[in-house]
């Protein structure tokens, strides 16, 4: 039995979340069971990913290739468990488990209704399963299908609030993401027409032989793939959907979208560029320069756009645009340190941004306020949440002892190795800008007087009509930034709804045990990655070496 599971681990890691996710709506009436199954699926995935990583790391030499259905390579679908795959798989599972824990018990009031909650979890697990698949698959068309599953799940998660604002954001996201999918599928079509293979290894060999005869077709394929995945992973000029989508989703969904989904598309792009086209072709078509340039633009522009945002989640969403730039910059450096740094930064940003979104979500749902200026003095009332937010912010800025520092260190090392000083300057300037948009939040949370906030709370408590309670879910639906004061009734309803789970007299306090555990886990990940990055950076370096010297 154990051998049976161990032999089939690459496929089991993908299908367990997928199939557990799909049966969840059947058990929608018993929400406890659903939550238990979600956590079980996540835990199984984490154990599987850990074991797979162990097996791949201890296995010297060749990658572990799993042939689905027993069909050999040119015909069948292959799953390749190499260093890159297990690295990203571990990131997905380690970050999604705390997010799943965070949703326990409080998702229902945010999404509304048992069935909607169960379907939210279905989408969540579909997303996790497809991300795991993206990490492992070695087949071009399989990648496209998994990307589509992830995209539709993301759109569903964005619109799960049910507000018109969320529907609009989800629609824009859906249109742009489908445009990107069409580009990707056309790119894959071009690769298939040129080489006659859908397996990444075989397609790569075919391209190597033929690209000099048909450079235009290869050029078209590269640009389709680049723009397609660039649009999906929100690199700067193509980021327009991201702030709306990520800020109007429920907080756990924002965390998984910003933390993991965007990274999945980047890993796909990485595989397409390095495994299919290969480093030589990238240099030939100067894709590396494009990546570096796009990354640098994204760092500066994303940070500058994040500065004036007063809505906390929007500011974090724009921050994601900037952080995506670092990873693209690392992808383009074509250097082992730079690429390892980009992968490490990807892992660190996944944990940090999830922690930021979850703690921000906890603050927002406890107070009902979305603006940064309204969160004054929150540090006294929700010490744990605010501490996690602070730790994650310091990590994002890149203070030593936190994970972001290590990633930036290697990125700088990589850019210095490549002999170009501009990326180094941009990385440091990006850190300064990051501090400029995150320190005000910390200052407001810890050092500003909570007088004003309490006053508003008292006002809200004064008028608390009973009829509002019935409209609780409706109030959630309208809890949006454009709520005008004519809707005070609903605002009170939101407030009351939140209060149901908290004892009276002490309204704003840290969230429940599961949520605390989730936040602590994420903070622990940030610290562990920052204090002893050895094994992780070794794995990232191994993955980078495999990518760079594959041929």
């Amino acid at each position: 039995m154990t051998a049976m599971i161990a032999d089939n681990l690459p496929v089991l890691v993908i299908i367990v979340p997928l199939f557990i996710g799909i049966v969840l709506p059947v058990f929608a009436r018993r929400l406890r069971l659903v939550e238990g199954m979600v956590v079980l699926a996540e835990a199984l995935g984490l154990v599987g990913a850990g074991f797979l990583a162990y097996m791949v790391v201890t296995r010297k030499g060749a990658d572990w290739i799993y042939q689905v259905g027993g069909w050999p390579a040119p015909w069948g679908i292959e799953l390749t468990a190499n260093s890159l795959a297990v690295f990203f798989l571990a990131v997905v599972m380690v970050v999604s488990l705390p997010i799943a824990l965070f949703t326990i018990g409080n998702l229902r009031q945010e999404v509304g209704g048992n069935m909607r909650t169960a379907r939210f979890y279905t989408l969540f697990l579909l997303l996790v399963g497809s991300l795991a698949g993206m990490a492992l698959t070695n087949d071009l068309f399989n990648t496209y299908v998994l990307v589509e599953v992830a995209t539709l799940s993301c759109c569903g998660l964005v619109s799960s609030h049910g507000t018109p604002r969320a529907a609009e954001a989800a629609f824009n996201y859906l249109i742009l993401a489908t445009l990107a999918s069409s580009l990707v599928v056309s790119g894959i079509g071009f690769i298939y027409v040129i080489t006659g293979h859908l397996n990444m290894g075989f397609a790569s060999q075919g391209l190597e032989q033929i690209w000099q005869a048909k450079p235009h077709a290869v050029w078209i394929a590269i640009s389709f793939v680049l723009v397609g995945f660039g649009l999906k992973s929100a690199i700067f000029p193509l980021h327009i959907w991201l702030p709306d989508a990520h800020s109007s989703a429920p907080s756990p969904a924002s965390a998984v979208l910003s933390g993991l989904a965007v990274k999945g598309y980047m890993i796909c792009l990485l595989k397409f560029l390095y495994v299919v086209f290969g480093p030589d072709l990238m240099k030939e078509f100067s894709v590396d320069r494009i990546l570096v340039l796009a990354g640098m633009t994204a760092i500066i522009c994303g940070s500058v756009m994040a500065l004036p945002q007063n809505n906390l989640k929007r500011r974090l969403a724009f921050s994601t645009v900037a952080q995506v730039g670092y990873i693209y910059l690392g992808f383009g450096l074509m250097d082992i340190n730079g690429l390892a740094g980009a992968l490490f930064y990807l892992a660190s940003h996944a944990a940090i941004k999830s922690a930021l979104f979850l703690s921000a979500g906890a603050m927002i749902s406890a107070t009902g306020k979305k603006k940064i200026s309204e969160l004054a003095g929150i540090g006294r009332k929700m010490p744990l949440t605010a501490s996690v937010f602070t730790a994650a912010s310091l990590g994002l800025i890149g203070i030593p002892l936190f994970s972001g520092f290590i990633g930036k260190w290697y990125l700088i090392a990589g850019s210095l190795d490549s002999g170009d000083f501009l990326p180094t300057i941009i990385i440091i300037a990006g850190s300064v800008l990051c501090a400029a948009y995150l320190f005000p939040v910390i200052r407001v949370a810890w050092f500003e007087s909570p007088q004003q906030a309490e006053q508003v709370n008292a006002e809200q408590q004064a008028e608390q009509p009973d009829s509002a309670a019935q409209e609780g879910s409706r109030g959630i639906a309208l809890q949006d930034e454009e709520m005008h004061s004519g809707q005070q009734v609903q605002q009170t309803a939101v407030y009351q709804n939140v209060q149901e789970n908290t004892p009276p007299g002490n309204q704003v306090k840290d969230p429940g045990t599961a949520q605390k555990l989730a936040l602590i886990l994420l903070t622990a990940v940030i610290f562990i990655l920052g204090i002893m990055p050895g094994p992780f950076i070794a794995l990232a370096k191994r993955a980078a070496a495999e990518l760079l010297m594959l041929r």
């Binding site: 032999d7 089991l12 299908i15 059947v26 027993g70």
Partner: protein, 141 residues
């Protein structure tokens, strides 16, 4: 809708459409079409019934709970069929390797697990089409 002729014609045709859909599902592995196309035909026969005879009547025929179950377990069935290979000690979704009898080419019961997988997919597609239809109709009203 109160159109008598439409209702009578639908009453005659729709059962055959539904059966034809199942025919396409069952013969997916030996002829053009397949579980997706067949599932769509089955779903459409039901959707046509609901539009002609009214949503309420259509809803009464298949409760939501049944739809949820078929939707979830149609897909799970696929996964279970894939697990057959793993239990036989060969990769996921293995067919002939798992020792399944492939039968004669062209016969209805041939192709090993493909036939059973197609069944699950067909049921899933049919129930999904119906769910999409009802969801959209609900949203509209």
């Amino acid at each position: 809708m109160r159109d008598f002729i439409l209702k009578r014609i639908a009453a005659v045709i729709l059962p055959f459409v539904c059966v034809y859909g199942f025919y396409v599902i069952f013969h997916g592995h030996i002829s053009p079409g397949g579980s997706f196309a067949g599932g769509i035909i089955v779903g459409l026969s039901y959707i046509a019934f609901s539009t002609i005879y009214g949503i309420e009547k259509g809803r009464a025929k298949i409760p939501d709970k049944v739809l949820t179950w078929t939707e979830s377990f149609g897909t799970l069935w696929y996964g279970l069929m894939g697990l057959v290979g793993i239990f036989k000690g060969v990769p996921f979704l293995a067919n002939k390797l798992a020792g399944v009898d492939l039968g004669l080419p062209g016969a209805l019961f041939s192709g090993g697990i493909i036939f059973y997988i197609g069944l699950g997919v067909g049921i899933r597609v049919a129930s999904t089409m119906i769910t999409i239809f009802f969801t959209l109709m609900e949203d509209q009203s």
